[in-house]
Subunit: 230 residues, 4 copies
Amino acid sequence: MKLEKLRTEVLAANLEVVNRGLVLYTFGNASGIDREQGLVAIKPSGVPYESLTPADMVITDVEGKVVEGSLRPSSDLATHIEIYKAFPNVGGVVHTHSLFATAWAQAGREIPCLGTTHADYFHGPVPLTAHLTTEEIDEGYERATGHAVVRRFAGMDPLTAPGVLVIGHAPFCWGATAMDAAHHAVILEEIATMAYYATTLNPGCGQLPQAVQDKHYFRKHGAKAYYGQK
Amino acid sequence: MKLEKLRTEVLAANLEVVNRGLVLYTFGNASGIDREQGLVAIKPSGVPYESLTPADMVITDVEGKVVEGSLRPSSDLATHIEIYKAFPNVGGVVHTHSLFATAWAQAGREIPCLGTTHADYFHGPVPLTAHLTTEEIDEGYERATGHAVVRRFAGMDPLTAPGVLVIGHAPFCWGATAMDAAHHAVILEEIATMAYYATTLNPGCGQLPQAVQDKHYFRKHGAKAYYGQK
Amino acid sequence: MKLEKLRTEVLAANLEVVNRGLVLYTFGNASGIDREQGLVAIKPSGVPYESLTPADMVITDVEGKVVEGSLRPSSDLATHIEIYKAFPNVGGVVHTHSLFATAWAQAGREIPCLGTTHADYFHGPVPLTAHLTTEEIDEGYERATGHAVVRRFAGMDPLTAPGVLVIGHAPFCWGATAMDAAHHAVILEEIATMAYYATTLNPGCGQLPQAVQDKHYFRKHGAKAYYGQK
Amino acid sequence: MKLEKLRTEVLAANLEVVNRGLVLYTFGNASGIDREQGLVAIKPSGVPYESLTPADMVITDVEGKVVEGSLRPSSDLATHIEIYKAFPNVGGVVHTHSLFATAWAQAGREIPCLGTTHADYFHGPVPLTAHLTTEEIDEGYERATGHAVVRRFAGMDPLTAPGVLVIGHAPFCWGATAMDAAHHAVILEEIATMAYYATTLNPGCGQLPQAVQDKHYFRKHGAKAYYGQK
């Protein structure tokens, strides 16, 4: 069996978002990529989580062709693949319909940076994609969704905002590994929840001052980080 | 004992909505129909779930007359029966007072299709019934509730919107089987929750573009479906 | 030990509201009355629930004097007693700071009857007390709170609305027994939650039509009830 | 090993806020001080709670210098220390990003005293700090955060309001011991939640009358307290 370590990590990432309450039934999927071999491991489509084993993960190439596995890959595979192609430092992608992140996506609003919890992970607002055209929807919807994500990050380092809201749909998150991506999906849901309550409490509340945003983001990321045990 | 398989499935559907947190005390009921024999199995009225067994399910004919069972059927039986009579492809009905679906019913608002989670299951808004007249309330309230549901679906395929909000009351859902109906009750509660948060975040947010609604609904339903393992 | 059965039931009522998530730390208390002996059993003040046994319940007379028990009774005892004195059919009283009922009390709003879940238990809005005067607060605050409850129910049958919101404070509920009172506390929290979401979704949503209110209330209560197994 | 009792209590306080649902991943920290020895015990930075033992707590002096322990102390240590220095009766400090308290902090609003649950613990609103200047952020951010807390309490007894909202960030709470501080963090989250729902239900709802605020605060605190078993 190919990629046993990656399969195990991808399964763990899938279960992390389930165990944190971000997934109803099978509404979520995590994948990871092996950049050297050019292979992606992803959850199969519509299979209950309780019964999944590493062997059930589907292995595809970077065109989305299954190279190992008897199950059909998640129907969102094409979106994951566009993200991997455009963002070379990304090693894992997670998609959920988590409640508050999805509510912001449905509301058609980026999540402004209102607090330090947000600033610890996203340097700036959580971005929102533009609507697809009818042509894009008809000619490869999932792939076009990936393109919309990539277009939104033009000129940005995708690791400074490790997730996006697809308008009218739900979030996609990413990270250096599948588990990092799952971690970011959990954080994004928390940020989205806090921002919902803060915004409804005070619709006029402004963004966190830029100096505080910078302070929190850079105490956890980059050369001058001093958070944690490293 | 008649209909052992149906009884077991109806009990499982009742427990599914309980285990998913949609039911407080005994505020819910699921039923299933055997179309060949013209018999309905439904939860007894006001009995705690912990102690229920398949043998406790009450079997009635399609006029609501008990043909097997010593307990009284759910007081909402007459509503279930009107749905079975009018919708020949429905094999199961579930009624709950789940929190957010009930809040929309109390608010007197249909749930607009704001996102793909909704579009995956309901092709269009979640419908809302009209108020009953005082005469209807007095002369067979539960049956009249079923008529109000059926009237709301005039000219519609009830499987394209597998549930309804009864105004000022709560949702009824249905499906090919009792378990499908329970599954739809859980999904409806999720949709209602997301729509609550999206709407309060942005009262002016529009419905999902029709092309995306169609894309999501038909990737899961009908001849061109490609979601899951089938 | 006096009143062993009542002690056991009062403990069970205290635990019911804890197990249903209505109580943080020790913010709640349940009591029951033995009308023949003129004795009340109530939870002791500020003792953790995990360690409580029936023997820990405090027995007092109807003036609030402890007649058995080494612990101090709940500081809200005087409120319970005024309710027992004024409402002769009440056998149990429960006080909690449950989240949504307390939010309505803090907002200073009665809970309108917006749906059938409410109408199944309360015939009309959930009443709200008036503010106490400074004199009342200073000269026996807990007793004056009971008087405020009783005044609000002047001319009403207290069993048709088995609970009240004390303005700026929290709910008190009652019933034929301590367990009925606990059940009503749980129902009130559910009603308050639904009404919160319905009201914020549609601030202009009207009350449930009176005919539906009557239908639901009387299908569960009084001579013509037909809900449940009785 | 120094301060075994304090280490154990500080660990228990850290776990209390985790078990009460106030902490996602490692977003929280509790500390305690030994006034005689001038030593602080605090959670290490960014270590998962499941694996923590008393021996993992980091011991520092009141300048923040580690005197025992191989792990790095929580990055918020400097804020804790400023609180200990300025508030001599405080024996424990707890910082969390609990959801509703953080939402109020992000909204930039003090929490008004809307009900008796609040008045039982905070005598007046939950205070909010002012924004830091860019200079303060750059020259010792965590220490400056402590200064902002202390400035907000100028002329106040910090035990009459055992917690604060740091604007755009999250709450810090304190008490006579680390466990008291944890208890106050849990209470503050409850107060913040109730106030959110009350305020959104009735934006014009006024504060609890001062006489009721005084009554509730002083029935639990000070020489005339009569709540609980003391």
